[in-house]
């Protein structure tokens, strides 16, 4: 068998970063008086950063010979999900609100 792989320091760093971002997000959401839109933009981008770390650091999306397929398909799916979320919201609230 090959020699022992080193303890994955990158995992530890990602983990600590995730915890840090979570706490920071809580702080921004509940501890500041920024406008709701600003808060959502900030914590929303924290969420995206965290998700990206999970995908690339933990889930090793790019490893293996099929890495490009996984990346392409996942990005495609994420893009479509974003279109569906924003599209639905836009269609059902734009113009006049349908209440």
């Amino acid at each position: 068998m090959t020699e022992k792989r080193k303890f994955p320091i990158s995992h530890v760093i990602s983990y600590l970063l995730s915890v840090g971002l979570t706490i920071l997000a809580v702080f921004f959401a509940l501890g500041t008086n920024l406008s709701k839109e600003t808060i959502m933009t900030i914590i929303g981008s924290f969420a995206v950063i965290q998700a990206g770390m999970q995908l690339f650091m933990f889930m090793n999306m790019i490893e293996g010979r099929d890495g490009w397929m996984k990346v392409t398909h996942t990005i495609y799916a994420i893009a479509m999900a974003v279109i569906f979320v924003i599209g639905s919201y836009y269609v059902l609230t734009a113009g006049h609100p349908i209440m």
Partner: protein
Amino acid sequence: MALKDHTNQPLEYQTEQGQMNILGFWIFIGAEIILFGTLFAIYGVLGNRYVGGPTPHDIFVIRDVVIQTLLLLTSSFTVGIVIWAMRNNDLKGLVFWQIITLLLGVGFLVMEINEFIHYVNAGATLQTSAFLSSMYALLGMHGAHVTLGIGWGIALIFQLLKRGITHQTATKTHIFSLYWHFLDVVWIFVFTFVYLGGLA
């Protein structure tokens, strides 16, 4: 099960079938992204329709939710250690970290069930308002995934103990870890947009 020329790859990628299973699961994750995306779309549209019922400020307990988040984040980290142990061919370490992961998952689940009980007692049920219907659907779908994952993870431990780390069990463990990480990714968005967004 031809071994071909993939022997410099980790165990789970060494067979064609292993590669296909992993790729297939990634494609399934694509479908899961859309699945949860649709739930977020529903929540986005209905999330402020309280119709006189409870609002996020009335029911959410942020301290508990932060603990839930930390439990799930940590379990996502430990399932990463599972894969590291597996690639070191360390069955004991693998099983140990797998058990830790599942325990953290159970902790998350228990807290979520308590949270739901608390909501129902506060008069916030699935039938109360569109906001609560869409919230329960999103949280419930995630919780159901965690529950399924715990059952799956336990089944995997038995198979690993019986068969050791082979091409097949390695592939299965790898796929399980992908699933578990993905649930954490979903939770990050739930935490951000449902809880923090609701309270901000």
